[in-house]
């Protein structure tokens, strides 16, 4: 349990942000029932938030005693939030936004294709094949086997599944 003597880029700011968050939550916990009674609904959250405030203060003080790294901004964008991580977070964010409206199949296809192409560094054909295979596998496992309800969006999935069911059903008759 040894802390390195040098801080990571952005660690000071993160420490202060955690202190800020703790203080805000402490204030919010106080709003529940103030210091009314030790068994009140707000007592436990108040204690937890108080612990957060104290421990984040310790973290901030400890951070202040440690060496700051050279090239702060540059270091932050190479060691903490490299472009690849930022792009992936943005991609997941966009995926989550469009998942409900576009539906599972088209949004997942685009998300997987972009992510695999970005991270796997192979030709677009190879990314397309892997994406399609993975999507089919996941759809079969989760939608058809596990019966998980996934957003339909613009694809009339139920109709297609019913049509496929009828097709194979009628062939069987």
């Amino acid at each position: 349990m040894v802390e390195s003597t040098q801080k990571q880029p952005g660690e000071t700011v993160f420490g202060y942000l955690m202190l800020l968050l703790s203080t805000f939550l402490f204030w919010q916990a106080y709003q529940i029932s103030g210091f009314e009674a030790l068994s009140s609904p707000g007592a436990f959250p108040l204690a937890a938030a108080g612990i957060m405030v104290i421990s984040s203060c310790i973290v901030v003080v400890k951070n202040a005693r440690r060496e700051s790294p050279a090239h702060l901004v540059q270091g932050f964008f190479t060691r903490i939030l490299p472009p690849l991580v930022a792009i992936m977070i943005a991609l997941i964010l966009v995926y989550a936004v469009v998942l409900d409206s576009l539906g599972f199949i088209p949004s997942t296809f685009v998300f997987l294709l972009l992510a695999i192409h970005l991270l796997h560094h192979r030709s677009i054909i190879s990314s397309l094949v892997i994406t399609t295979g993975s999507l089919i596998l996941i759809y079969v496992i989760f939608r058809l086997v596990f019966q998980i309800i996934l957003p339909e969006g613009i694809v009339p999935e139920r109709e297609i599944l019913a049509w496929l069911g009828n097709l194979f059903g009628s062939k069987g008759n």
């Binding site: 349990m1 436990f44 977070i89 991270l119 989760f142 596990f146």
Partner: protein, 500 residues
């Protein structure tokens, strides 16, 4: 007795349950083996997909994943010097040198058999000790539960992270997340900001998937350049002469593993490292020096980490208190499936206890079967490139969060906690105590209120009564000791001690 046996055998006689246990163990071995995937991550994601299932079915799959995952970590530790799970770190120390000498097959075979022996020791201890612990736990006061939960969070926080302050911060954050929503006793709003959707609180599964799935996968993006190394493997059956020869060491380290696993805050990873150290100290003349491919250095951690699984189940099932992050996630799964782990579980639902013991035994047998077969398929799957694996983890995390309530809101929570967890990890805050805090929040809140009401809302009385019970005194002393050990006073005392 007969009833216990029939419950023990439920998953053995039902082809469906047996199939799910086998599938879980098989998947667990790969989850444990593939660096970047963890058992905690897999169980977190799986909870969201299986919570509508019958409890026995879901448990079979998850127990299999847990048991298989703890073992699976050793595979890549031996073959690639990349422990698939923290509990396999010690395995790599001698397992990888064995593989470099062309003895990878033998190392895998030996580690499989010893893991299974360790697993059995853990299960036997669980079935013998749990009823006693459970009876003892019935005498616990609410304050004892409260302090035990605090102790667990503090131990996980202090052992895993790089500073106790950060560990405590994470635990408290988790507790606070767990209080969001309507107060279960008075229905008063807590941290809801007037948003009706928050009345039911933040789903712990979304927090788990974010903290263990998304944040871990984002961290993996830093190591994209690490390519998988191919290993030639054909025969993996161990030499039975070796199994017989190292059986005493395996049994000793299994016992150590089960004890360490049962303690709060210590899981398979610490058990494995301690067992490795034990083997190093007690083996006088190893055939090969430790660190260069000593079989003792491979056997000890493997037996211990699988034995720790049985050990970890003891506090989880009898006290309702998880020992580490994996058991915290598992405990969350049990709550979601309507089970109430704690001292009353054995009295009210003994069938669930014996079912779990039987299922763990079955999963352990499947570890032996899958561990000694299918090596060609294994090498193929483990070589799955990270560029494909990571997008799939993201996808499963998003779909898993959506599946909790068929709502995009859970995806937002998952994503927010994923990004927060990512930064927390990079800055030395561990996510394990957060999950422990979320899971234990309700238990802490309720027991605190019970304890303080019974002490007439007086803190003086609360602390005064604390010293009337040996258990409460012990727990309080342990918490105080951990706190004091982190202050400058402790450092000064330690410096003075040698000169005294």
């Amino acid at each position: 007795m007969m009833e216990a046996l029939s419950n023990f055998a439920i998953s053995w006689v039902s082809p469906e349950l047996m199939g799910l246990t086998a599938l879980g163990t098989f998947l667990g071995i790969y989850v444990g083996a593939i660096p970047g995937l963890s058992v905690t991550m897999a169980v977190s994601i799986l909870i969201s997909f299986t919570f509508s299932w019958d409890v026995n079915h879901a448990l079979c799959l998850m127990v299999g994943i847990y048991m298989g995952g703890v073992y699976g970590g050793s595979r890549t530790a031996i073959l690639l010097n990349m422990p698939g799970a923290p509990s396999a770190i010690a395995t790599a120390l001698d397992g990888y040198p064995m593989a470099q000498k062309g003895e990878a097959g033998q190392a895998i075979g030996l580690s499989t058999v010893m893991s299974v022996i360790g697993g059995f020791v853990g299960i036997i201890v669980l079935s013998i000790a749990a009823p006693f612990v459970s009876d003892f736990a019935l005498t616990f006061q609410p304050r004892d539960y409260m302090m035990m939960a605090i102790l667990g969070i503090m131990l996980v926080g202090s052992l895993a992270g790089d500073s106790l302050a950060k560990g405590i911060f994470c635990g408290a954050l988790g507790m606070l997340i767990g209080t969001v929503g309507l107060d279960p006793l008075t229905a008063e709003e807590r941290f809801t900001f007037g948003v009706v959707e928050l009345w039911n609180g933040i789903n712990p599964v979304a927090v788990m998937i974010g903290m263990f799935g998304i944040s871990e996968a984002l961290t993996q993006l830093h190591h994209m350049e690490k390519a998988a190394v191919r290993q030639k493997l054909d025969k993996i059956l161990p030499a039975w002469r070796d199994v017989y020869k190292y059986l005493p060491l395996s049994l000793q380290t299994s016992t150590l593993g089960v004890i360490v696993g049962a303690l709060p805050g210590t899981g398979g990873d610490i058990a494995a490292l301690m067992a490795y150290d034990y083997a190093k100290r007690t083996t006088k003349n190893p055939e090969v020096p430790f660190g260069q491919g000593a079989k003792e250095g491979l056997i000890a951690p493997e037996a211990a980490n699988n034995a720790a699984v049985g050990g970890a189940y003891i506090p989880m099932l009898t006290l309702g208190i998880p020992g580490d992050a994996v058991t915290a996630v598992f405990l969350g799964a049990l709550f979601i499936h309507g089970l109430n782990p704690g001292p009353m579980l054995l009295a009210e639902q003994p069938e669930m206890f014996w079912f779990t013991v039987g299922n763990l035994t079955l999963a352990n047998i499947f570890v032996l079967i899958f561990g000694l077969t299918g090596i060609r398929l294994f090498t193929k799957i483990v070589e799955c490139p990270k560029g494909v694996l990571i997008p799939l983890i993201f996808l499963l995390s998003v779909v898993g969060s959506y599946a909790i309530n068929n709502s995009v809101t859970d995806i937002w929570w998952m994503l927010a906690f994923g990004v927060l967890g990512y930064f927390m990890k990079l800055y030395g805050f561990q996510v394990g105590p957060v999950i422990l805090g979320v899971i234990l929040s309700r238990l802490l809140d309720e027991n605190w209120r019970r304890a303080i009401i019974s002490d007439q809302e007086s803190l003086g009385m609360f602390f005064g009564n604390l010293f009337h019970s040996p258990l409460s005194t012990f727990l309080f002393a342990a918490i105080a000791l951990i706190l004091v050990s982190q202050t400058p006073l402790w450092g000064m005392w330690k410096k003075k001690k040698p000169s005294a």
